[in-house]
């Protein structure tokens, strides 16, 4: 242990009031009372469709693609989807699409395909686009990426409380386990690494069949997923995650019939805001646009 380095302990958080779960409007413990570090408001689009997930569990690619297009148009206030994607990406970009391959609840391949198609349509060459998860550290496209697109399903998670957009970048670091302390609170620091900072053009939090509770070593049961039929899209991963976290918390309370906080508390969302300045976690800093199906929207 380095003698001169200040060791961060629980008492540092006690001083800042971090371990006192005062609860914010989205049901998360506040890291501190400091204002959001990110400037201004973050626009978040929540779009839903009751037919995107069929009764069989299959995803309708046509509906999903239409939802994606409508969301980016709204997010960027563009006149059409193609224009929106051209705003996000330039033909000279090298684009890493960070997906999530977790077996029980992966990013739908239909979404991977839809996004890749739109990246190519924006003029990016085929050789400069890659979709990857666990291989990103050795993937040549990701190594030279000028732009990143981040997408994953939201689910509860053993170490971090929630598997979020913020957490999806943990595969960029050589020792992911090093971020497990205090419910993965420092995940936001990954986003400030030089090879990542400022490159993420779009975040898509997949809420088609989100998971609101986990059990067992594999942390998965179909009992604890539901067909929500949504996508949350934003340039700000913190704002998108905070929005998704609010929905997960509401679903837990509804399902269990009592206040059932996400466990462990997903501290990393507010820490990404307050400590690392990655984005906005507080509702007053989030401009939420709701599109489409609104039954049981939970937010």
């Amino acid at each position: 242990m380095a003698e001169k380095r200040h060791v961060i302990t629980r008492r540092d958080f006690l001083r800042a009031g971090a371990c006192v779960a005062v609860g914010s409007a989205i049901g998360l413990p506040l890291i501190g009372k400091a204002a959001s570090a990110a400037a201004g408001q973050s626009r978040v689009v929540l779009i839903r469709h009751d037919g995107v997930v069929e009764a069989s569990g299959n995803v309708r690619p046509d509906i999903l693609a239409a939802m994606l297009d409508a969301a980016v148009v709204s997010l960027l206030q563009a006149s059409e989807a193609a224009e929106a994607w051209r705003t996000i990406l330039k033909p000279g970009d090298t684009v890493g699409i960070k997906t999530n391959f977790w077996g029980s609840l992966p990013t739908p391949p239909e979404l991977d395909e839809a996004v890749k198609k739109r990246v190519l349509a924006a003029g990016v060459s085929t050789s400069n686009v890659a979709v990857d998860d666990r291989g990103i550290r050795s993937n040549p496209v990701f190594e030279k990426a000028t732009a990143l697109i981040n997408m994953r399903p939201m689910r509860t998670h053993h170490w971090s409380g929630l598997g979020t957009l913020l957490k999806n970048y943990i595969m960029f670091v050589p020792s992911p386990w090093a971020y497990h302390g205090n419910a993965c609170e420092s995940l936001g620091s990954i986003w400030n690494k030089p090879e990542i900072k400022g490159k993420t053009r779009l975040n898509v939090l997949v809420m088609l069949t989100p998971q609101f509770h986990g059990i067992g070593p594999h942390h998965f049961s179909k009992t604890y997923v539901w067909s929500y039929g949504g996508l949350i899209v934003s340039a700000d991963p913190v704002a998108a995650d905070a929005t998704g976290a609010g929905i997960i918390q509401a679903k837990r309370n509804l399902f269990f019939g009592e206040e059932r906080p996400i466990s462990p508390p997903p501290r990393h969302i507010e820490a990404a805001d307050v400590t690392y300045g990655v984005g906005n976690s507080r509702p007053e800093r989030i401009e939420l646009v709701k599109l489409g199906w609104d039954k049981d929207i939970l937010i």
Partner: protein, 295 residues
């Protein structure tokens, strides 16, 4: 003896093969496990994972099993047409202390009588017995499959012939007010930090060679969290005690007690090679009393 147990015995005998040489306890146990239960039958090949390959099977929480010195994991699926599968995972933790320790990582749920301690939640049964931690999951709601999972658990427990000992360190815990279902046995700072975040560094020098118990106390008027750490040698224990004082309790008074920023009280004391830490207590008196009561 019920028909089910006779069937298990039959399966055990039928599965025995004179050509098999049992390289380790998990292989030996695997050979005796039932092939069928309540209409569910083994599907596919058994798979085995060790502490290096466990992440190929369990994402994320695989770290938990490594933190308890995982030796090997057997993964087996039972299937039945038209019904959800049942996933059996048997973890050979090497010692009964570590099998118990993994079990204490998550003690939510309904206590049921399988193995040495067991819990049931909708779709997940886990228990420990001897050096094995056993998890049986049904990944969707199905009453018949839930019953089969419990029955499989009973049969697996019967295949483990011995019981194991709980960690000796538990015997040092003062009994009054102890919340036994919230007592965690551990070695690794990642597990300690999961249950009670202490520090971003391993200031207590926890390792596979150190046993630790995190206990919760609830008495009429106050609550407390107590940590005991047993070190392998006096030098390591002394250094850990110094680290605790320097990094966490630098403001401790002559009795070793500090008032925390949340108004609670903390203290530490070295007793031979055991470090006693009151992480939080509701009052100064309860912190002092609890330290004194550790035998």
């Amino acid at each position: 003896m019920s028909l089910m147990y006779l069937l298990a015995l039959f399966n055990l005998l039928a599965s025995m093969n004179a050509d098999i040489s049992y390289a380790d306890p998990l292989q030996e146990l695997t050979a005796s496990l039932p092939r069928q239960v309540m209409g569910w039958a083994v599907a596919g090949e058994d798979r085995f994972f060790d502490d290096q390959t466990i992440f190929e099977y369990i994402d994320g929480s695989g770290e938990v099993y490594r933190a308890y010195n995982l030796r090997q994991c057997l993964a087996r699926t039972y299937s039945k047409a038209g019904s959800p599968g049942i996933v059996l995972d048997v973890f050979d933790m090497g010692t009964s202390a570590d099998a118990f320790g993994v079990f204490t990582h998550d003690t939510d749920g309904e206590a049921i009588a399988i193995g040495q301690d067991a819990r049931w939640r909708n779709g997940w049964l886990n228990f420990w017995k001897d050096r094995f931690f056993v998890s049986i999951t049904v990944p969707e709601e199905n009453a018949r499959a839930f019953e089969a999972a419990k029955e499989l658990g009973r049969l697996v427990a019967l295949c483990i012939p011995r019981e194991g000992s709980r960690p000796k360190l538990l015997s040092h815990l003062p009994p009054q007010g102890l919340q036994t279902d919230k007592t965690r046995f551990l070695h690794h700072p990642i597990v300690l930090n999961y249950h009670f975040y202490l520090s971003d560094e391993n200031i207590l020098d926890l390792s596979p060679q150190t046993d630790a118990v995190l206990a919760t106390y609830q008495n009429a008027n106050t609550s407390a969290r107590l940590l005991l750490v047993q070190y392998p040698d006096a030098n390591t224990a002394r250094k850990a005690a110094e680290n605790m004082r320097r990094h966490y309790l630098p403001d401790a008074d002559a009795e070793g007690i500090s008032r925390l920023e949340n108004g609670k009280w903390a203290s530490s004391r070295l007793k031979n090679q055991m470090l006693i830490v009151i992480l939080e207590a509701g009052s100064r008196q309860s912190a002092a009393d609890l330290v004194r009561e550790v035998n």
